[in-house]
């Protein structure tokens, strides 16, 4: 079973719907015990980085950290991916998972923020998450903060400079865009994770 972690960071129906469509059993949950037992964990999330502190307060952070330690595949989406980094300018007091180094920063003033709409991926190197996805593929973004390029960046996107659109390290995956809202390309990516 795939646990879709609910920490009151927006609407998770779309993520569940996409996983359902791909034919994998999944459940939206805010119960740490369910997360601990899950075969895979997805942390979606929209809105403010500060909302990730809910994960600390509810015991979900410990459950997720434990799952990651046991090599449970993990997929962070949007704010869920930013949470995999050390921190974000958006909420300097909130502490990310730190599985990727660095701080998420606001878009520079030269470009409109939020970055909303369909933009292209520049796929870099080998990636299990992006198998079957070519450079130039369009995916749907909506965010005002962006993660830096790191050694684990498997796709970059250019908007006011390059940022990490997808990251990957071993069994840990992240996407800044919304695979559940990115048409066939998005379903391919979500399917790659679900089939791991």
């Amino acid at each position: 079973m795939i646990a879709i972690v609910d920490y009151r960071a927006g609407n998770l129906v779309s993520v569940k719907k996409a996983v359902d469509r791909l034919g994998f059993p999944c459940a939206i949950t805010s119960d740490p015990a369910v997360v601990e037992r899950a075969e895979k964990v997805i942390v979606p999330g929209v809105g403010h980085f500060a909302v990730t502190s809910t994960l600390d307060e509810t015991g979900l952070r410990a459950a997720i950290a434990g799952a990651i330690e046991r090599q449970t595949p993990f997929f962070g989406i949007c704010v869920g991916m930013q949470w995999m980094f050390d921190s974000s300018e958006e909420a300097p007091g909130a502490c990310g998972l730190g599985v990727f180094p660095g701080q998420c920063t606001h878009f520079p003033p030269e470009v409109k923020a939020p970055h909303v709409g369909w933009n292209q991926l520049e796929v870099e190197g080998e990636s299990s998450l992006l198998r079957g996805v070519a450079s130039g593929a369009f995916v749907y973004f909506t965010h005002s903060y962006r993660a830096p390029l790191v050694a684990g960046t498997v796709a970059r996107c250019d908007y006011g400079g390059a940022f990490s659109a997808a990251v990957e390290r071993g069994h840990l995956f992240g996407a800044q865009f919304h695979p559940e809202k990115s048409g066939d390309v998005g379903l391919t990516i979500l399917g790659n994770f679900c089939r791991l």
Binding site: R8, A9, G10, N11, V13, S14, K17, A18, R21, V46, G47, H48, K112, A113, P114, H115, V116, G117, W118, N119, Q120, F138, Y140, T142, H143, D158, Y159, E180, K181, S182, G183, D184, G186, L187
Partner: protein, 257 residues
């Protein structure tokens, strides 16, 4: 490159699509779920479902249509019409919408924008603005209308979008009441004025009569997206055809899609 979005809009009354129903190869051209899926396949970057009946008794019918449409959609899906409270919005989100659009209710109580945004994120809150040009005085000005464009509010459109943005709106759906239904083109002056007054995305609506009008509203109006409500009434068969024309004109669009 960030592309310009083409958004297909379905006007729904009592659970049936009442505008833009001419579409090839559909078993039931009036079914919102089937039309939404068809538009998505044809390249629409987003789908908007607008409940134009918005009466209390039709709410269950609408939610059923949203649920069925959402099942087939893996692109952003917005639902508007008749959302007056956080509870109304929650019901629509639970049925599978990604964003909601509010208009009169936001004018009556702007805190609604903030309350929905705090629960679902600003990106999920589209504030629809119906603007009507005021008689020429010192430069162009537009007044906001409510109740489907029928009711003058006395509010300046640019002042209202600034307030709505500060209260947490994620995007604007801007309709020119002067151009809506005319087919003579978008009001690019209005669109550019609103784009200049805010930093969030602006979806232009009202007046499209051909592909060239989209080119103009993206270039001169600086719109981030445009609503293709009656695209099938002006000789284009699909969003794909419109996008091909935009590409030929050098407008960045998601293609292939």
């Amino acid at each position: 490159m960030l592309t310009k979005r083409i958004i297909a809009c379905l006007d729904v009354d009592a659970g049936r699509v009442v505008k833009g129903v001419r579409f090839l190869d559909l078993r039931d051209a009036g079914d919102p779920a089937e039309l939404a899926a068809a538009h998505s396949r044809a390249g629409a970057d987003e789908i908007v479902l607008l409940d134009i009946s918005a009466t209390h008794q039709n709410r269950a019918t609408l939610l059923d249509a949203v649920r069925r449409a959402a099942r087939e959609l893996f692109v952003p899906f917005t639902v508007g019409g008749g959302i007056r409270s956080l509870e109304d919005a929650a019901a629509v989100f639970d049925a599978g919408a990604d964003k909601i659009s509010i208009n009169s209710a936001a004018l009556a109580d702007p805190t609604l924008i903030t309350r929905i945004g705090e629960r679902y994120g600003s990106q999920a809150v589209i504030v629809a603005v119906d603007a009507k040009r005021l008689p020429d005085g010192n430069g162009a000005r537009w007044e906001v209308r409510s109740a489907g464009g029928r009711k003058p509010t006395g509010r300046d459109a640019l002042e209202w979008v600034r307030e709505a943005e500060s209260r947490g709106a994620g995007e604007f759906l801007l309709t020119s009441m002067d151009r809506d239904g005319t087919g003579i083109g978008f009001d690019c002056e209005l669109t550019a004025a609103v784009v200049g007054a805010t930093s969030i995305p602006v979806i232009a609506s009202g007046g499209a009569g051909g592909a060239q009008h989209f080119v103009t509203v993206f270039r001169e109006g600086r719109a981030d997206a445009a609503l293709a409500a009656s695209i099938f009434h002006f000789g284009l068969n699909s969003v794909a055809e419109l996008k091909q024309e935009l590409r030929a004109a050098g407008i960045p669009v998601r293609w292939p899609c």
